[in-house]
């Protein structure tokens, strides 16, 4: 969860990309960053403030670096949501360590939720960045839509 930090910065911002969609996500910790990037990925497709649901799915992903792990985590969420027919609106990273990330996501059935942006097809490695700064962490992710 974002805690008090949400009062200072948004969870994510949409940045310009001619054809696709790109966000910068923020977090106090890498786990926080991963949760907020996931929120951003689904929030550009749906209005997550209006989505409430408790259908939960475990999410695991592997990768060699923090950048790889972020792409793998977001890609897993995307696939799990489409397979389960859910819109995920809440994300929890339980464990983030070298080589793997474990967590879960919950949400509501996609039927009946209005699509507000083009569906994200995939998470790309293009222009990918995960950066630690004195205030915490930020990441830039470009999605294929």
């Amino acid at each position: 969860m974002v805690g008090g930090r949400a009062l200072r910065t948004p969870r994510y911002e949409v940045i310009e990309h001619t054809a696709d969609a790109a966000i910068i996500a923020y977090g106090d910790t890498p786990a926080d960053l991963f949760e907020n990037a996931a929120y951003g990925m689904f929030d550009i497709m749906f209005d997550l403030d209006a989505v409430a649901g408790s259908s939960s799915r475990p999410v695991v992903a592997a990768g060699d670096s923090l950048e790889d792990l972020l792409v793998a985590w977001l890609s897993s969420l995307l696939a799990e949501a489409e397979i389960a027919g859910l819109v995920f609106c809440g994300f929890t990273v339980d464990r983030l360590e070298e080589g793997g990330v474990q967590g879960s996501a919950h949400g509501a059935p996609v039927s009946g939720v209005e699509l507000l942006g083009p569906p994200v097809k995939a998470v790309t490695y293009h222009d990918l960045a995960v950066v630690e700064v004195p205030e915490g962490w930020w990441a830039r992710v470009v999605f294929d839509v």
Partner: protein, 470 residues
């Protein structure tokens, strides 16, 4: 990025750093200026780093900033010379493409049944998120193996349809056994669905014929109603590319290959990883060929149910996101090249041995959809094509989705189109603004460059009567 004009509509980026070949962009000064405005030219230069690339890193006139390759990027690598295959040169929507059907029905006849047909299309064409019209797992296995041929044998389409599909609607060498469980679970039930974003089904009318011999061979005549379908391999293709990018990033390091953008991860075509990717890609491509085939069937059913009968005949089906091993002349010698077309259409000229019966003299139909509400074009491949028999694939975006959304509300975009006599059946009204005509380049200018550069020549211009969007 410095470039110099080397021809009427040709710009060259000289090799610098690790570029193995020059970059070559086909554009008017205005289109080139737009490409230079974002990072598309950097991407042309990045593609020129691929091991084994020959000729140039090409960009079609609808070039724009993508991920890895620019959209509109074409690159060929010499297979026998360590040439690589890069999933980034295909994209996540494997074998995304366009299918055009033509009829002898006039606009006046269509208008008499317009509401009925549009209503039937609205009801029958699955779009947005979720499942398609075919959810049979049994058919899926055959589709991954044989593409549109499997859909035809299952009762969709008519006997001569396959003659008018690139590769006869079947990508050879498919390895359905390599499609992951996750890809099957994600996209297996989406056969017969459009998806969303820039995908669409449009009812159009031929408003101008520029080459009557080619139009006749293609089965297109002025004033006649057509149906154009733009879609790809849905979640199954998206997941297949995702699965391979992870694997390929690691394999690339083992092969000692370095590229300037991780999305350009690549391995030699003649490597285990390269063969695995091409086999998986072919299976996902088969899903896409079959997907457009099933949607075309649904359009025919909708026309019949709407009272027009069954007048739709296939003009052609082309992919614009694919890598294929083709034979081309390099320095006067025939070479096997792995040609990547990322947002570019194959465009074989007259006399090419792979052309179907009836098209030998005129070349392959090249389908160039414009933006929603504007014209689309049918072109014909040309013998003198300078870019590995490739041409443009669309108008090309010029405005980000964020800015397009801020410009107008979806409801206003719809009202504007309806005022011009274009019926709009959106899956999501709010999404219409992102695909509004003002977000795209002028398709007529893109086609003009194709003509002047010898990429493909104009045959007919189509304008929309009705739009079904995700």
């Amino acid at each position: 990025m410095e470039a110099r004009r080397v021809g009427d509509v040709v710009w060259e980026l000289e090799p610098r750093g690790g570029m193995r070949v020059p970059g070559r962009v086909f554009a008017t000064p205005e289109l080139f200026e737009r490409a230079a405005h974002d990072r598309a030219l950097d991407q042309v230069a990045n593609v020129a780093h691929l091991p084994g690339i020959v000729g140039a890193s090409f960009a079609m006139p609808d070039i724009h900033w993508g991920y890895g390759f620019p959209i509109g990027g074409v690159a060929a690598t010499d297979v026998a010379d360590g040439g690589v295959v890069s999933p980034g040169g295909v994209g996540f929507d494997i074998c995304c493409g366009v299918r055009l059907l033509a009829s002898p029905v006039t606009v006046a006849e269509f208008r008499r049944h317009g509401d009925g047909v549009m209503g039937e299309l609205d009801a029958r064409i699955p779009r947005g998120l979720g499942e398609g019209s075919i959810a049979s797992r049994r058919l899926l296995a055959d589709v991954l193996e044989r593409g549109a041929a499997a859909a035809l044998d299952a009762g969709f389409g008519t006997g001569d349809d396959l003659d008018r599909c690139e590769e006869r609607g079947t990508s050879e060498g498919a390895r359905p056994d390599l499609i992951t469980r996750r890809a099957l679970d994600r996209g297996g039930t989406q056969l017969g669905s459009l998806g969303a974003g820039n995908h669409f089904l449009e009812v159009q009318v031929v408003d101008r014929v520029e080459d009557s011999e080619a139009a006749l061979a293609f089965g297109i005549r002025e004033g006649a109603v057509c149906v154009m379908i733009h879609c790809g391999s849905r979640g199954l293709g998206h997941q297949t590319c995702t699965d391979h990018l992870e694997e390929m990033g690691r394999a690339m390091r083992r092969h000692g290959i370095e590229v300037p953008d991780r999305q350009l991860a690549c391995v030699p075509v003649e490597s285990d990883e390269g063969r695995r990717y091409l086999g998986s890609m072919a299976a996902a491509a088969n899903f896409a060929w079959a997907n457009r085939h099933v949607l075309a069937h649904e359009a025919r059913v909708a026309f019949a149910a709407g009272g027009i009968g069954d007048p739709l005949r296939l003009v052609f089906d082309v992919a614009h996101n694919l890598a294929k091993v083709e034979e081309h002349a390099v320095g006067g010698e025939a070479r096997r090249l792995c040609v990547h077309r990322k947002g570019a259409t194959r465009a074989f000229g007259p006399g090419h041995p792979d052309l179907p019966p009836g098209l030998e003299r005129v070349g392959q139909p090249v389908l160039v959809p414009g933006s929603m509400g504007t014209a689309s074009w049918v072109l014909a491949g040309s013998v003198e094509n300078p870019a590995w028999a490739s041409a443009a694939h669309g108008a090309g975006r010029v405005m980000s989705r964020k800015r397009a959304k801020a410009e107008q509300r979806g409801a206003d975009v719809r009202a504007g189109l309806e005022a011009e006599g274009i019926a709009v059946r959106p899956g999501s009204v709010r999404l219409l603004s992102e695909e509004a005509p003002y977000a795209y380049k002028d398709v007529d200018e893109v086609v003009s460059v194709c003509d002047r550069a010898g990429l493909a020549s104009p045959v007919a211009r189509l304008r929309p009567l009705g739009v079904v969007k995700g």
